[in-house]
Symmetry: C2
Subunit: 357 residues, 2 copies
């Protein structure tokens, strides 16, 4: 039997923990895992691209636990009433190869992406940051707001989306929190939303080279959290922003980010810093209050490993374990056939309709 | 919701179809898919090796459907009462990226490996083959016997395993079929089992360069089905067998087999034939009754794709559909947060024990 967390399961767990506390706890797990960066067998994700989108597998292991995530990205799905991104993943025991946990990761990816964004910003944004722009008010936006309010005390959210209904939905959802003194400002353009913001998160979904932010929008001291550009051919920042002499770019796993991140627009030798090295003290974070810091986030398998490990712990801690029969249990492991022994005497007459499709 | 086939589900489906018919139907699906080899976006599997074993992901897509399999190989597991190989997989819709089916593949991998072996032998072994040696009588052996008896009319099975209890288990399981006139002969050594066999399947699990078959055991006209050697550093045939001037080697997907198959022992230019080209008529199969044909099988993602597509069809055909809530359904796909809306008002007090592990 394998532990299972479905949509109902993640709802129950987050309800028990509280969404803000869940994100903060997950950020702590991600930080702990990034601090042991060299323990991990890291590889780029495996992607299958089609005209409609991408399907990816993201495996990683630290020699004790193994995890992978399945995740798709299909920007046109919303027009079909479907999610742009769905995901699930598995945590497994390296010693036996047996899966331990199968979990939904659609909701969890949204939580972990926000946790990672806020964790990076805690190290890279100016500590006095209080105003944040959210560009793109879709499925990820609430999670960003919760993470940044809770972990960085952001008190003003400046909002823009080409779909004003998405912004209205975001405001409605955030009002439910009744955060005292926190303001939500729907804006008429990206430029208006970004003006005066200390931190800017770009959370757009189009699978193309978009220019969500242009150089004129970026002020000294800003922290840019570029989340939406995460595929070959999918970017959000004008390259001149990356070229600014006062800008420094931070990434998760450099080989993957050179293929998928904003820096796919840059020459091969363009200098970037892996976030793990900032945590470990091997590389500096923000150098001054005037520097522009850019977290060129594409999402890395380690963050999903952390999330699965965290969920595995929480579902036991809160007695929320469910199991599915994904893997057999055998009295004699060399006798796999025992599972089908009752079928052995079934006459081998061809069943109707079994011909090749 | 995603369709789900667990252990109970595969038992029910195989019981309804009959195990021999299931294997034959699956072989027909695999053949149909190999015949459209060029439709597939093929890649080598992603493997994470550890001292104890390997964990692999095997993705493939034909542009309409995508599948992947998770599979481990841990030879020491049986000493812990666990299976050497466990597996599960997913079939997904390329157009939306949504998973359609999550299925157990431990039992199914055993069925598909046997189906693939028998399919290849139908094209490569001498048509008058009636005697077969099964070297290694573990979890795969019953499935091989059923597939080869049913699909190639094999009437004599010559059995050897270093663990005589495994052989006794195999004989016991096969006797239940009561195949008229079919003989099972436990042998005292590999050499004895192979002597007089038309087809030899090697099904051993040790993760090392083993020499299960030596050149003196191989007679003209034999078909060797080398199944157990399927990892870097894991082989079963002495290289001189591959070097025989009268031998021809057939593989599934050449780049993967050069890394993982028996031919990892051969120089890079060693000639092999992809099985798909034999099916398509672009390459010859067996050239004469005296030729030694070697199917250097490592298992390819296409075979799991075929199996998942077949299972997806069968579970609907036999009204055996079950579903799990692995993926959310949303009225507004941009409002993922709606799933957690009830958690929004939970006070964000730190929960006990949520600190990083």
């Amino acid at each position: 039997m394998v532990a299972y967390i479905g949509i109902e399961g993640i709802q129950r767990i987050v309800e028990r923990v509280g969404v803000a506390t869940f994100i903060e706890g997950l950020a702590a797990e991600i930080e702990a895992d990034y601090r042991r960066w060299n323990d991990f067998d890291k590889s780029m994700r495996h992607a299958v691209h089609s005209p409609a989108g991408v399907i990816e597998l993201m495996p990683i292991s630290d020699g004790r636990l193994y995890s992978f995530k399945y995740v798709n990205g299909h920007p046109q799905n919303t027009s079909l009433g479907l999610l742009t991104v769905t995901a699930f993943g598995v945590l497994a025991d390296v010693k036996t190869g047996y899966p331990l946990l199968l979990s939904e990761l659609t909701v969890t990816t949204a939580l972990r992406t926000a946790a990672m964004s806020a964790l990076a910003a805690r190290w890279l944004a100016r500590p006095d940051s209080r105003a944040m722009a959210l560009i793109g008010n879709g499925a990820q936006s609430e999670f960003q707001a919760i993470a940044f309010h809770h972990m960085l005390d952001i008190r003003e959210f400046r909002l823009f989306d080409v779909d004003s209904q998405a912004t209205a939905k975001l405001v409605r959802n955030l009002h439910a929190f009744q955060w005292p003194g926190v303001q939500f400002r729907p804006c008429g353009s990206t430029a208006e939303a970004v003006r005066g913001a200390d931190i800017v998160s770009t959370l757009t979904a189009d699978k193309r080279k978009a220019t969500i932010l242009t150089p004129d929008m970026v002020s000294p001291g800003m922290h840019l959290n570029a989340v939406g550009g995460d595929c070959p051919g999918k970017t959000e920042l004008h390259p001149d922003i990356l070229h600014r002499p006062d800008a420094r770019v931070f990434v998760e796993f450099e080989p993957q980010s050179r293929m998928e991140g904003e820096i796919q627009q840059m020459p091969a030798g363009f200098a970037v810093t892996e976030f793990a090295h900032v945590l470990g003290g091997a590389a500096p974070g923000r150098g001054s209050a005037d520097e522009v810091t850019i977290f060129d986030s594409v999402g890395f398998a380690l963050e999903d490993y952390s999330a699965l490990r965290y969920l595995y712990k929480l579902q036991r801690q809160y007695n929320q374990s469910r199991e599915i029969d994904l893997i057999p249990h055998l009295d004699n492991p060399k006798d796999l056939f025992a599972l089908l022994a009752s079928t052995a005497t079934v006459a081998a007459t061809p069943a109707a309709g079994l011909a090749s499709a």
